[in-house]
Symmetry: C2
Subunit: 527 residues, 2 copies
């Protein structure tokens, strides 16, 4: 019996994929067995059709009131909540992530919160940074890009980063752009559910029917052609460094903006005074952060840097014990398993020792032991590239520095990261070291933390989920937090001597909401 192939959402309709380049099924990572739902791999003609429809939708959306977009985002959030049970069940099946608390109580609420935050930012309008010089009659604001935004969702957040419901989707749509979602092939069913909910609500809205489009899969070379297409406004990708760099090269060559979140080892520095003061608590917190969700977070601590003194050794022993005693976890996919093995090989090849875990248990599905490695600071500094290899999964490397000076040398040898954390004595015991270390780390990360593990990315306007290359492609942006995340998907639009009735409402003399923040003649004002 053949399983029917799910339709794609292209050009304003669910329809069978036209001449698909192939088909695929997701797997249940807990069993390793294929799930009985078939999805198409879209060919380039279909991708081009989506781009054309997205381009036309972009023109329609430019003429819409922001309130239409905000209403859609709010209604979509409500629709997702109404579909909660099915989303959680499907995502658990496809990803192996725990239904409770992860999917139901943490990630789904975060996802609808993001959509509502985006809606609020759209209504508020201050995000567009309207700037007016009344004397010269020159005005500017951020506006949409004029073409669809392509969103490539990652495997590890089936809700909060989903290509058709997550933070990139919400940011791109809130900035006024249609979205072409490219599902992660590990959870096509979850993505389909979102798209079904979203498209039903879309049809009842004032947005064009091609404001949301969904393709499940495509050949890598077609992905490259997609991000380089002149009619695409921008692209966003969250995933592996290898995939990200290939897309970046294609987009860069064509002069198309692309935002990437590619890799991060999120170094955690445990300073000597902190370990003497509260080593037990720090060990427990670090263990939790390293192994939460099988370590499959972009902010998982991959590197733990500490001094090899008594307190440092005690922390390490405690952390190691916790890791040894913890059960293997289900991974998202076979590719994660393969990535961990390759990462361990690289790190061991560069001189790290596996202290705990390191194996895939017998039995069905994709599982790996929680794993801890150790290496001396001296060996780390000989191969800093290989030893800061991101092993995406429950793998962390303890680096034992011989001195405060070596701690700073290790910091200086790091690549760009999403986060860097420093635990220090609550009095002044570590202050001198902190004062040397923090400026080094400031240039190496997007978010600098004190006395706190990096996992758990709060959705707040102040969040920075970004950082220097190669964590992302540009250090000036964040993927989380409204309104800041929207700026990625906006163009700066200048209006010089444009007649008042032709101006966008945000740039006319009268404040369109009565309380939007604008910079007028050098003064910030809500009038």
């Amino acid at each position: 019996m053949t399983v029917p192939m799910h339709p794609v959402l292209v050009a304003g309709a669910w329809r069978p994929a036209r001449s698909p380049a192939g088909s695929f099924r997701a797997s249940n990572p807990a069993t390793g067995e294929a799930i009985d739902e078939m999805y198409p791999v879209s060919g380039f003609p279909e991708i081009e059709e989506a781009i054309r429809a997205g381009r036309a939708a972009a023109a329609e959306m430019a003429a819409l009131s922001p309130d239409a977009i905000a209403s859609f985002l709010d209604a979509y959030a409500g629709g997702i909540e109404a579909c909660l049970a099915e989303l959680v069940r499907t995502a658990h099946l496809e990803t192996g992530l725990a239904e409770e608390p992860r999917l139901r109580t943490v990630e789904l609420p975060r996802t609808v919160f993001q959509l509502r935050q985006a809606a609020a930012a759209v209504r508020d309008r201050s995000w567009c940074r309207a700037t007016i010089d009344t004397r010269a009659d020159i005005r500017s604001k951020f506006g949409p890009l004029g073409g669809p935004v392509v969103v490539f969702g990652p495997n590890n957040f089936p809700f909060a980063y989903n290509s058709i419901a997550g933070t990139d989707f919400a940011s791109a749509l809130a900035a006024g752009n249609p979205v072409i979602a490219k599902a992660h092939p590990c959870h096509p069913g979850t993505t389909r559910l979102f798209a079904e909910v979203g498209f039903t609500i879309l049809k009842a809205s004032r947005l064009p029917a091609a404001a949301l489009q969904l393709l499940y899969h495509m050949a890598p070379e077609d992905g490259l052609a997609l991000v380089a297409h002149p009619d695409v406004g921008a692209s966003a990708f969250t995933g592996s460094r290898l995939g990200g760099l290939r897309l970046k090269e294609a987009a860069d060559r064509a002069g198309r903006p692309i935002y990437l979140e590619m890799s991060s080892v999120n170094p955690v520095f445990l300073l000597p005074g902190a370990l003497r003061q509260r080593g037990e608590a720090i060990a427990a917190e670090t263990f939790g952060s390293c192994t939460l969700g099988a370590g499959q977070f972009c902010t998982k601590p991959g590197l733990i840097i500490l001094q090899g003194d008594e307190a440092g050794e005690a922390l390490y022993q405690k952390l190691k014990r916790s890791i040894v005693e913890s059960p293997p976890q289900v991974l998202l996919a076979r590719t994660v398993l393969d990535g961990i093995r390759a990462g361990l090989e690289t790190m061991v090849g560069a001189g790290a020792e596996i202290a705990a875990g390191g194996r895939s248990p017998e039995g069905p599905g994709f599982r790996f032991q929680n794993t801890l490695l150790r290496v001396s600071g001296g060996v780390f500094l000989k191969s800093p590239k290989d030893l800061q290899h991101e092993a995406f999964g429950p793998v962390s490397l303890c680096v034992f520095a011989s001195s405060s000076g070596q701690i700073c040398e290790i910091a200086a040898s790091l690549d760009g990261n999403l986060t860097a954390s420093v635990f220090s004595h609550s009095g002044g015991d570590d202050e001198t070291l902190y004062e040397t270390l923090a400026p080094i780390l400031r240039g190496k990360c997007g978010r600098l933390l004190n006395d706190k593990v990096p996992t758990g990315v709060a959705v707040t306007p102040a969040m920075v989920h970004g950082g220097p290359y190669p964590a992302t492609g540009h250090p000036g942006f964040t993927a989380v937090g409204f309104p800041a995340a929207m700026i990625r998907f906006a163009a700066l639009h200048g209006y010089d001597h444009v007649r008042p009735h032709r101006l966008p409402p945000e740039l006319r003399d009268a404040n369109p909401t009565g309380r939007m923040m604008r910079l007028i003649d050098g003064e910030w004002t809500m009038k």
Copy 2:
């Protein structure tokens, strides 16, 4: 008799170039003769030394009060004014640009105004967009990049875009970064004067001595290695598309930010009603904009699009007459002359006819006739790439559309530009066409103008001097206007649970100036 080679400004001192890769002299474009001053071509070891010193200076600057940077910028502006006569004389000699009004009354005042605007933005601090979530204790702001910014100055603005005094320099320094200036080899003497003034003032300031460095010239491959260097914070380039694209590729591959202003034909649409109403005045204004400064502006109208009706033909005849009657002008350099010839060849090859000018007059120096070409809309649409080739200089192409529909087709065929202008009837006669045309142009330009020529870039916070690729490398930024231009040279810095005394002053609970604008717990406030 050998002329001594001028020293470079590297690592905090004027000193002889070490093992220079060569030497060069500028030419007086009015005579074509070499000027009797010799400058070094720096080799890569010297470039690397500048990067190292810039990196160390970046660390020092991160610890400085913004007021130190603002005071330097203000003092530098004053120092430039005190050196006005020598700057004007030298720039005139090296560029052929008129001393009056261009250099003395327009460009030099603009340059010092920019430095003072940058200083005011630094003192105000609102530019850094401080965002605070007091409940989650998460905070963010823009901060410096952690490495020097490399500025490549263009040939056409020896003052206002000078690599060590112009808008990119001011933006980069104001954002807290040291600058490595790469002089344009057409006006090394002008650049040297700025650097001498700036460095004298720098030594009396609290800024590190390597906050300003100057190299006069380098081999193209060394320029590529410079922008790709991991210790460089970002680069800015204003110049040719060919040079810009090469630098872009090198920087992109290395994941280093680069901001480029590469090319623009600045289409001017003259709608039928406007020409019937005030064709004479529009012709005069267009002529002025096309030929001002020998057309050597990035915002020169290279394309004039109009309908081939009676009023359109009358405008064309008037414009042509003005161009025929105007004398040839001195160009900046022989390369400009070569570029014009190549551009004309491309356009004529694609079917345009030379209607006026088109030749280089006999005699010394680098001169070219003001030049007008014409082509039909139909021919234009057959070769839109070749016919929107930027001929940098006093060259413009009139495109005669057969209908309103064809005007819009021509607009849709355009690449990204810095500007697009539309002249329309002051009543409603052109409104229907405007309503179709403007949304097309909105996606094609940074600054959209009504009833105004694009030359003359006002320095105001509302200015957008940017635009979609290939006018620039990213549509979200502006190179002119403070504080917006500074954002290019900033990284987004997050602080999560960082102890209050370790936070930058802009992110502490108390407002550091008592009036800096911040977004605190969702509310814009100056408290």
